[in-house]
Subunit: 112 residues, 2 copies
């Protein structure tokens, strides 16, 4: 089991290929609970977290924002009563990068 | 022009009817920029706001969370780089209530 959560995002400037399906499958094994979802032909990693009321959802959203700024990699976050949905993908390569799996693992760690 | 932003949400316990299409049309005139969007047969008020980077989007999201707690009425917020999408609707009546238009107007005021 590799420790993705301890990883650091590397700069991704485009031109790099997105992960292949086989690479995605390998990495997904390390972030149980995250699903690959395709939106407009672009694969995203998505997980839904249950939180306490709206306040708990906002607290979690803010924690995610902190790691996003630290790593210079930003998700889409849907915040609602009792629930936060997080999506990580890499816009510049229109797909999934190892960075997204690192961020997914870091997101899981925030739950403590 | 009625001043929706100065309104206060009233407790909505279900059993009340949702707004009719005519009532929605009348109120929508007072919150220009908000669209009615139907999700799973439930009407929601939605507006997309452009913000500065992810940080600006998070700041706006947190401001919305404050008015949501104040009024005891909570939205769905999609926060991403440079953009916040806000949806207001009333779960308990599975539709739109005047409260949602009040919250939409209050959301607009946050932009200052």
């Amino acid at each position: 089991m590799i420790n993705l959560a301890a990883g650091q995002c590397v700069a991704c400037r485009g031109g790099e290929p997105s992960l292949t399906d086989a690479e995605i499958e390998d990495l997904q094994f390390h972030v149980i609970g995250w699903q690959v979802k395709e939106v407009d032909g672009v694969k995203r990693l998505e997980r839904v977290f249950k939180l306490k009321k709206f306040v708990g959802a906002m607290e979690f959203t803010n924690k995610i924002a902190v790691i996003a700024e630290e790593q210079g990699h930003h998700p889409l976050i849907i915040t609602e009563w009792g629930r936060v949905t997080v999506q990580w993908w890499t816009h510049v390569i229109k797909g999934l990068h190892k960075n997204d799996f690192i961020m997914a693992a870091k997101t899981d760690e925030l739950l403590g």
